[in-house]
Amino acid sequence: MIEWRSEAALLSTRPFGENSVIIEVFSASHGRHAGVVRGGTSRKVAPILQPGAQLSVAWKARLDSHLGSFTVEPIRSRAAVAMGDRLALAGLNAVCSLLAMVLPEREAHAPLYDRTIALLDLLGQSDVWPLAYLRWEQALLEEMGFGLDLSACAVRGVNEELIYVSPKSGRAVSREAAGEWADRMLALPEVLAGKGDASNDEILRALGTTGYFIEHRLIKGLGDRPMPGARARLLDAIARVK
């Protein structure tokens, strides 16, 4: 029997038979991992199994290739905080659906796990959450191998007037170097490079750029799947916070 125990964030649940559910969790040491929770639809267990919940999970299976089963214990529920706040709810959905979609199964991504838990801990703090989410999307791209290089112009090597990102390379491009290709470039708001105005409008512009790479690099590699609708709803929720 193969067994392990870890802390994990719950990403999704789906029904399995009459009383059980298949959950997907994200843990530091085992990455995105699925398994069955027997009795997961019961009154006692179902409230624990809400997306974003931090759980202590124990997984066991006869063979490593089996789906296996989880036993779960709650560490921290985030549902109550999220449910009362439109932005937190949209954020929680966006984070969980993106992770469930783009993370490879059973591949550890400990730094991203730590960033995710830190982001989820900020749920409900609407003044800092949009910026924290932007940083998290940048970390997601970095961890998946599509990090943006915004330190210097990809064409001329300068680091002044960097206002574009190349959609091909993910590197910064200066105003001068962009020239007639400017209309094909993505925006590089200062907030994306970790400086300047961090207003929600600027954050939304930056999320437009990170969204491009998530959609065209991360998700496109997974087949013809669309960007999760939850992310669009998050952008809408951020736009409403003025």
Partner: protein, 197 residues
């Protein structure tokens, strides 16, 4: 294993597909039906045949009924201007059991789900918006589950209904509940929704 005839085997196999029943309990149920042939089996078969021929979704609210418009939608005294939005028919029946709500219902047929790719178009949200325009609705009560998907749906619907009073069910300590046995999420929700006495 055979249980007599092919028809009986088929009946047991079909009963075993019902929620809460397996092959063993289906056999017990079938034996019970046979023993109570005139009292249960024949009336049950008769009602099931009639329901099977006539059951459909209410064209207005999505409730299940045997006519095009259900009894609740066609009752004039339930035109109170209030409409309770529920996830599925089981929730509507639960609300009706409580005999507290006197308005009408709207069954969404599910909730938005980011992970299952269930968007607004898969639910009966456009029909709800139509009803609000045509039925003089003054208050929409979102009676959706206290889950992430339920509340995501509630916020989405509230955004689609500017100018209408939109309320939702309270969340917190259940009747007969003791704080010691509640999870931290429920206690947080209850504290956030506290009221002055």
């Amino acid at each position: 294993m055979t249980n007599g005839t092919e028809d009986l085997d088929n009946l047991i196999a079909l009963m075993a597909k019902l929620p809460g029943l397996g092959p063993r309990s289906a056999r017990r149920a079938v034996l019970h039906l046979i023993k109570k042939r005139s009292l249960v089996l024949l009336p049950l078969a008769d009602v099931m045949q009639r329901v099977g021929a006539t059951v459909r979704e209410c064209l207005n609210c999505g409730n299940v009924c045997t006519t095009d418009i259900c009894d609740i939608c066609s009752a004039d005294k339930r035109a109170t201007g209030q409409i309770a939005v529920v996830e599925d028919v089981a929730d509507l029946w639960a609300m009706e059991r409580a005999q507290v709500f006197k308005g009408r219902y709207h069954v969404l047929g599910g909730t938005l789900s980011a992970l299952d790719a269930i968007g607004p178009d898969e639910l009966r949200i456009p029909k709800l918006i139509d009803r609000i325009k045509t039925e003089n609705i003054t208050e929409v009560i979102l009676a959706l589950g206290a889950t992430i998907d339920g509340q995501t749906t509630a916020h989405y619907i509230a955004d689609q209904l500017p100018g209408i009073t939109v309320t939702s069910l309270a969340q917190g300590v259940p009747v007969g509940g003791e704080l010691d046995y509640l999870d931290d999420g429920t206690i947080t929700a209850a504290l956030n929704a506290r009221k002055a006495l």
